[in-house]
């Protein structure tokens, strides 16, 4: 029972990881799932510093 729960938990975590990475790579290349609100930014630059400046992007 515990083993089954652990395996299910790992599967759910990995599923979320795959979808998150897919969404991130799509939105990084300009393909957005959600219609953009004016204030909403759909992609995270990974090299953004704490001040919001993007380095090397």
């Amino acid at each position: 029972m515990i083993r089954k729960t652990i395996i299910e938990a790992i599967c759910l975590l990995l599923l979320a990881l795959c979808i998150a990475l897919l969404h991130h790579s799509l939105s990084s290349s300009g393909i957005t799932i959600f219609k953009k609100r004016p204030a909403a930014r759909s992609s995270i630059p990974f090299l953004m510093d704490r001040g919001g400046t993007v380095h090397g992007g």
């Binding site: 299910e8 975590l13 609100r37 930014r41 990974f46």
Partner: protein
């Protein structure tokens, strides 16, 4: 041999568990979607907590919203809902630790729980005692969902019944 009388409270407990499932699942589904719609806002909120290194903050800003969305969906639909409830309880525990740490350090930040929805619906979104109590209540609901083995109104129960039914 003594036969124990049928428990009249069982259906009520089933309904309560189902309501808990829909409430917690719905909240995580909606808050996950709100964060997916604006991940940069969520990233900036995570940075205000000053808890994690920058790369991990960026990773969590991409990962956590989708995790919340998928776990919420599992609870609402009733797919692997016991495991999903356990993971959500763990997430709530982590949120409580994070909010507690900013309270102890005297930092006033938004908890980022509802993302964009906090602005649109004017929801309370500060990292304070109320957020901790809200997370504790959600955690209790999740543990109740995990404890009960109810498959009423779940896809798991539906497909399980179809599989065990004679052809």
């Amino acid at each position: 041999m003594a036969v124990s009388p049928p428990r009249a409270s069982a259906p009520i407990a089933h309904r309560v568990t189902m309501v808990f499932r829909l409430v917690v699942g719905g909240m995580f589904l909606v808050s996950g979607l709100a964060k997916i719609a604006d991940p940069v806002r969520f990233l900036l909120t995570l940075r205000e907590f000053q808890l994690l290194p920058g790369a991990l903050e960026s990773f969590l800003a991409v990962y956590l919203p989708w995790l919340e969305f998928i776990l919420g969906l599992c609870l609402v639909l009733g797919i692997l809902h016991r495991t999903a409830s356990l993971l959500i309880a763990g997430l709530n525990g982590a949120f409580i630790v994070a909010i507690g740490s900013v309270m102890v350090r005297g930092i006033e930040v938004d908890c980022g729980c509802f993302g964009l929805l906090a602005d649109v619906l004017h929801l309370p979104d500060m990292a304070d005692g109320k957020a901790i109590i809200r997370n504790l209540i959600l955690m209790g609901m999740c543990l109740q969902i995990f404890r009960s083995d109810v498959t009423v109104w779940t896809l798991e129960g539906y497909f399980g019944a179809r599989r065990s039914a004679p052809p």
